[in-house]
Symmetry: C2
Subunit: 365 residues, 2 copies
């Protein structure tokens, strides 16, 4: 299934936020094909004389320079996962019950629409704002546009606080879990299974590893008032040579999702301690991010948008802001459990209320 990529597109930032969401979704921008949408976003932002616009590849920032005592960052990615015959967008329901369906509606062009509306309409925010739009969030970390800006233009991302407009059902989600994957390997001695006592079975030797996992009690950790629930799971297992051979190797892939009170190194050390005696190889990992909700800038944000903050269980780019020293939260319209699904959708009312909440935040001391 391919979807024709638009050659040029125009965005009208004076349209309402729901219409703007649909216009953004209807410009296909699967990771790697963000050029058209990035051009359209840049062109629209450059029509706003109160903003400085800077671009790097298909990522860009737009920022105010009002000399406020505080600078906040509002960030969103322009790319989506592949289209699944779910474009152009369509609407189901009416009025307050209207729901926008289609690729990108939840993850995360509704959030981008809110960013663009705020950028265009809040000419004199009470805190200076840097709007960040970036490419390639939905693919491998090495291509991530926000990470690239962090390497090439770290000064563009400076701020006292950041909001990442990932879908969170318009609830403030603080920090994020870390994730690390290791391969735990048991070795043995191959032999013909008719004379199994001449070998040593590596699959049998992996049993204590599974016993550790089944007996493991995941921590529930309070970090700055948010309770993170960890997870320690086998996500893969493989072993065996042939139906008549005692296997000499068995590998379990373990994924540990850890709370922000642990560093990536501490998570690795925990795994090595759990599986002492086995060969443990780290295959990948990403650090957790602390919620940072105790910072004054965060307190002001939570007060302005309302609701009770919760922990983020998945891994998001708030961790990248965290590495840059900018406390960040997830806050955006849409339910993340429908992201990447064929029936991806977002209630229109959530998009509107997100815009109103952020407008309140940017215009209230």
């Amino acid at each position: 299934m391919t979807y024709p990529v638009s050659q040029a597109a125009r965005l009208d930032l004076s349209s309402d936020v729901v219409t703007l969401t649909r216009a953004l979704c209807d410009i296909p921008s699967v990771s790697g094909d963000e050029r058209v949408i990035a051009d359209a976003v840049e062109a629209a932002l450059r029509e706003c004389p109160h903003l400085e616009v800077l671009r790097d590849g298909d990522a860009m920032i737009a920022r105010t320079h009002l000399g406020r005592s505080e600078r906040v960052v509002i960030a969103g990615h322009l790319d989506t996962v592949p289209i699944a015959a779910n474009l152009p967008t369509w609407v189901e329901g009416q009025g307050d019950d209207a729901v926008i369906y289609g690729r990108g509606t939840a993850d995360m062009k509704a959030g981008v629409a809110v960013q663009l509306r705020l950028a265009a309409t809040v000419v004199e925010p009470v805190r200076d704002v840097t709007y960040v739009f970036y490419d390639a969030e939905e693919v491998e970390a090495s291509r991530n546009g926000l990470a690239r800006l962090g390497r090439t233009h770290p000064d563009w991302l400076v701020g006292d606080f950041a909001v990442l407009m990932e879908p969170s059902v318009a609830r403030v989600e603080g920090g994020c879990q870390g994730t690390i994957r290791v391969e735990v390997e048991a070795t043995g001695v191959a032999a013909h299974s008719a004379r199994s006592w001449t070998g040593r079975n590596a699959i049998h030797a992996i049993e204590p590893v599974l016993a550790v996992l089944t007996g493991y009690t995941p921590r529930e950790v309070d970090v700055e008032g948010l309770v993170y629930r960890e997870g320690m799971n086998a996500v893969g297992i493989r072993g065996g040579i042939a139906g008549n051979v005692i296997p000499d190797r068995c590998v379990v892939t373990v994924n540990y999702r850890f709370a922000p009170d642990r560093s990536l190194a501490e998570a690795e050390a925990h795994l090595r301690e759990l599986f002492a005696g086995y060969q443990v190889t780290v295959t990948d990992g990403s650090p957790a991010a602390r919620p940072g909700l105790d910072r004054p800038a965060a307190v002001r944000f939570v007060t302005a948008v309302g609701g009770t903050p919760g922990p983020k269980y998945g891994w998001t780019d708030v961790a990248l802001f965290s590495e840059l020293g900018v406390p960040a939260v997830n806050y955006g319209p849409g339910d993340p459990s429908f992201a990447h699904k064929d029936d991806e959708h977002c209630p229109a009312s959530q998009i509107v209320s997100c815009e109103q909440s952020l407008l309140r935040w940017l215009t209230t001391e």
Copy 2:
């Protein structure tokens, strides 16, 4: 690596058994390509007026009709596993220490050479003899030439006792283990590993299966004076969908090698009892064969060839004879642990002593 297949070949049954072994090996006959060697064997046998020769595809029998009170079967397969740059044969060492190297020397053309020498030279054996030569022993059971004869010409295989000339270091090996393979499956509920508590991990659920295997004490069973040592082993394990997904399925393949006091059905029942609560699917199985060494014909054989019989741990075609109601043993030159290896070989002295032992048996009341 391919090896040119001979277009025609001639065998001289008056040559010594070691020379005949090399001549047989030097006619390549990888399973499926037995035509040339079968033609050569048939032609050589048809020169013996005391034998009736009957052929089916690339399998054949040659038998005496002397009206003896006992008929014995001496069987061997003509095919080999693929050649590994180990033909034509070569000799290392001299005199009593000479060793013949090359594909088929152990498994089992030395045995076939002994059969052919006996067929040609023992014109008036004290017991009637049926010599069986067959194809496709080294591949899937459905192609096995002996099994085919059992289906199409069961009368050709009738006898009071059978000797299968598989390599056994010239020691009588009685009966054979049975083998059965099952897949033991655990199921779960898939979920994102960042919210693992919303799923149920199938790899974790397989842990009790591995615990059963590691805690299992294999039986050592005395069957008619031979001690069979069983084996219960995982020979494969697989599970996992992706690095961030709680797996909903995990499958362990278990191979049970069982002593001849159990039928295939009893072996299956034992596995189902061991892994109660899991889905158990039989993927394949072959029954064991009792040694049959208590039969008068077997006693006479063991007395004639000498040595102490032992159990056969692998599965061989003696089980096919057993199904036909013919007690059978393995007895042949060559060490089975070198079968299928690149350095396959057979001591010349073993071939000579096997020929002498069987000659004694066929010529002594």
